[in-house]
Symmetry: C2
Amino acid sequence: MSKTYEELKSRLASIHDLHMARSILGWDQHTKMPPRGGEVRAEQLGTLDRFSHELFIDDEIGRLLEELLDYEEEVGPDSLEGSLIRITRRDYEKAKRVPPELRAEMTRAGAIALPPWIKARETSDFSIFLPYLKRNLELTHQYIECFEGMGFESEYDVLLDDFDEGMTADVVRTVFDELKRELIPLIARIQDRADRVDDSSLHGDFPIEKQRAIAIEILERFGFDHESWRLDPTVHPFAMSAGTRDIRLTTRYDETDLSVSLFATIHEFGHGFYEANVDPATERTSLSSVTSMSLHESQSRMWENLVGRGLPMWRFFYPRLQATFPDQFGAVELDEFYGAINKVQPSLIRVEADEATYNLHIILRFELEQELLSGDLSLEDLPEAWNARMEEYLGIDVPDDARGVLQDVHWSGGAIGYFPTYALGNVVSVQLWDKLRGELPDLDAQFEKGEFGDLAGWLRENLHVHGRKYTSKEMLERIVGGPMDPDCL
Amino acid sequence: MSKTYEELKSRLASIHDLHMARSILGWDQHTKMPPRGGEVRAEQLGTLDRFSHELFIDDEIGRLLEELLDYEEEVGPDSLEGSLIRITRRDYEKAKRVPPELRAEMTRAGAIALPPWIKARETSDFSIFLPYLKRNLELTHQYIECFEGMGFESEYDVLLDDFDEGMTADVVRTVFDELKRELIPLIARIQDRADRVDDSSLHGDFPIEKQRAIAIEILERFGFDHESWRLDPTVHPFAMSAGTRDIRLTTRYDETDLSVSLFATIHEFGHGFYEANVDPATERTSLSSVTSMSLHESQSRMWENLVGRGLPMWRFFYPRLQATFPDQFGAVELDEFYGAINKVQPSLIRVEADEATYNLHIILRFELEQELLSGDLSLEDLPEAWNARMEEYLGIDVPDDARGVLQDVHWSGGAIGYFPTYALGNVVSVQLWDKLRGELPDLDAQFEKGEFGDLAGWLRENLHVHGRKYTSKEMLERIVGGPMDPDCL
C-alpha cells in the first residue's frame, strides 16, 4: 500500500514544483521583471498553471486516491500521509471541474492586467483598468459555474472556499455586521481624541536604505534569517515562499512616511514566518502551505498590530529607531511615538489603515464584490460606489481613484473573494493572542528585552508546523476550543 | 496543412514557456535566491526539465513532424515555418535518445553543485567541489552514451553539438593548434613591452554604485533599454533572456578593480543585445534563441574587445568616466587609459584576461575536458594538471585553486564542452568585424560621437534577426562567404 502512496506523493511533488516555479515567476513579475516582459510572462504563467492543472486532474491521480481509501483510514487523519490524501482528494474533486484552458486563461488574464493596473493607478485613470477588470470578472463567473451542484450556497462561497475551506459568505456577513455595528459609531466617537494625537514624527525624511536597515534589524530579532529569507521593494507588499527555506517578503517604501514600509514589512514577516515554520517533512507537497488565508492573515496581522504596535517591543527597539533617525525621533518620547503609531484615524489606504478602521476597508470591499458578482453593481459604477461607501463608513472623501478603487493589486490578478480573509484574520489574531498570552504570561517582559523566541515557539508549535493539515475551523477548535468569535476584537 | 503546423507550433510554444520558466528560476538561483533555497530549487529545475523533455519527446510531436514533411518543402528552408520544422526535427531526434530521468538528473545535479562550488571557491578547497564534479562527469558520460550510432566521431563532439550544431573536436583542435602556435611565442615576446604599460589607474577605489552608473550610461548608448532589460550583481557574470523583451545581464563588481565589472558588463551586453534583436515573430519558439553559442560569444567578445577596448568609443566615454571617478582618472590621459585597458599580460582569471591571452585559457580548458572524458586525467589530478598547463602556456604560477581550477561556474552546472565556443567566438567576432567595417567605413567617427546605431543595425539585420534559423556554418557562409578562419585573429 505504501507503494501506492509513494507514487501519489511523487506525482504531487512534481506538480508542487510547478506551483513553486509559478510562484517564483509571479514574485519576479512583481519585483524584478522589466515592464515589457509582461506579455510573454503572462503566457509562461498560464502555461505553468495549465500543465500543473492537467497533471493534477489526470485520472491516474483519481485512481491512486481511490486505491488509498483503506490506507488513509489506517494511518489516521492526523498523520502526514492521511492529511495529504484527504487534502488532495478535496483539491482533486474541485480541480476536476475546472477545464485546464479556463485555469490557464484566468492566470494569463490576471498577469496581463498587472501593467495596466499599475498604469491606471499611477495616472488615477480607472478607464485604463476597466476592460481588464471586466475580463477578470467574466472569468470569475465562468469559474464559479464549474462548481454548480457541488453544494455551495452562494456564488461568493465558491470563491471564499479557495481561500478558506468551508468559509461562507453568511458567516462572513454575520461577523462583519457585528463589526460594523461596533466600529462605525466607535470611530466617529474617538475621532475627536484622535485629532489630538500628534503623529507628525512619522512624517518627514526617511531615506529608503535606513528604513530597510531598521526593518531588517527588527525582523532579525523576530526570526528573519538571511540564509533563507529576502526582502525586496514592490508596488504592493506581499509575501511568498518557494519552499520552507526560500521565503520572500516585499514592502513598499515611502520616503516621507516611515509607517508605510515599517508596518507592511512586519505584516509580511508574519506571513513569511508561518510558511518558514511549516514541518519540513511536508516540503514538495501541498501540505507545506498554510491552513487558510484567514489563518495566514491572522499571523501577519498579529505581528503587525499586536506585536508591532505594542509598547513592549518598542521599549527595546525605539532607542534603535531614534539612533537611525535622530532628526525625526531624537526629541520624541516613546509614549508619544507609541501614540502616533496607534493613532486611529479614518484614512484612504487599506494597507496603511489603523487597527480600528482597517476592518471597514475590508467590509466595503466584501460588499462591493458581492454586488459586482450578483450584477447589482456594474463595473462602470464601481468607483462611484466605492467613494460613496468610504463616505458612509469612514466619513472621508476619496479625492481620486488611485487612492480609491485602484489602490489594491488583488482584482488585477483576478483574486475576487480574497479580501474577507484579512478581517477574519484580524478576528482570529486576537483569539490566538488571548490564548497565547494566557499560556505565556511573561511575554511583555521578553519583548522589552528584544526576545521573541517564546512567542515564535508557541506559534510554531500550535499553528505553523501543521501547514495545511487542518481547516480554519479545525485549527481554531484545536487551539482555542471554539469557532471564530468577533467579540474578541 | 497549416493546421498541423499550428498544432506543432502551439505545442512547442508551451514547451518553450517551460524552458523560459526554467531560465528565470536559474537566473533567480544565481542572483536572488536565499542560499538555503538551493536544495528545493534543484528539484524544481529538475522537474521543469523533465516535463518539458517529456512533452517534447511525445510521439505526437514525431507524428506532426512526419506529417509536415511536404509542408516544410513547400514553405522553403528560409521561412520561419520551414526553419522551425527543420530545427525541431533535429532537436527531436536528439532528445528522443535522452531519457527524461537522465535529463532531470543532470539538471538537478548541476543545481545541487552550485552552493558547494561557491563554497569551494570561497575557501579555495577543491575537495569540497570534487564529489559534485564527479557526479556531473558521470552524468555527462551517460548522456554521451545516448547518442551512440548517431554518427558522432568522438565523445566530445556530442557535447559540442549541443552548443554549436555540427562543430567537431577536430575542427576546434585545428583552430586551437594554429592559435597556440602563434600565441604562445607572441605573448612571451611582448611580455617585456607589457611590463612597461601602466595600468595602475584601473586599480584603486571604485564604489559599486558608481561602477553601475557608468556601465548603465555606456550600455544605454549601446542599446540597453530599462523597459526590457536589467542588470544585477552575481558571482559569475552571465546573460539570459526570458523573451525578446526580458533581457537580463549580470556582472561581478570588484571595488578595487574597475575593469572586472566594466568589461564583463559590456561582454554580457553583447549576449543580451543578440537575444533582444531576434525577430519578435519567433517569440515562444526555439527559433527565438541564437545561431549557436559560438556566434553568441562572437557578439559578446565583439562588444567587449573590438568596441569596448577600442579608442574611438573611449574618445566619447572617457570624459564621462573621468567625471565619475575624478580621483582615479582626473590626471590620466586617454592614451594612457587606452593602453591600460589593452595591456597584454598573462593572468590567472579567464574572464579578466586580455584579448591575446584569453584564448590560451580556453585551449587549456578544452584540452583538460578531453582528457577528463577519455579518462587520461583523473578528477583528483585535475588541479595539478591545470596548474602545470597554466605554467606551460602562460608562464604563470597558480597560487590557489580559487584562482585556478575553481574559477569558472560552468563545470558546476555540468556544462562540459562549452568553453571552446568562447575562443571560436573570438575568431568569428574578428571575421564579422572585418566584414562590417568594410561595409560601414564611418564607424570610428560614429563611436567618437557616442553613436552605435549603424553597428547595431548591421548586426541586427545580418545576424541577430535570424535567431536560431541557421547553423554557425550556414550563418558564416551567408555573412562572410566562407568558413571559420583563425587567420583573422
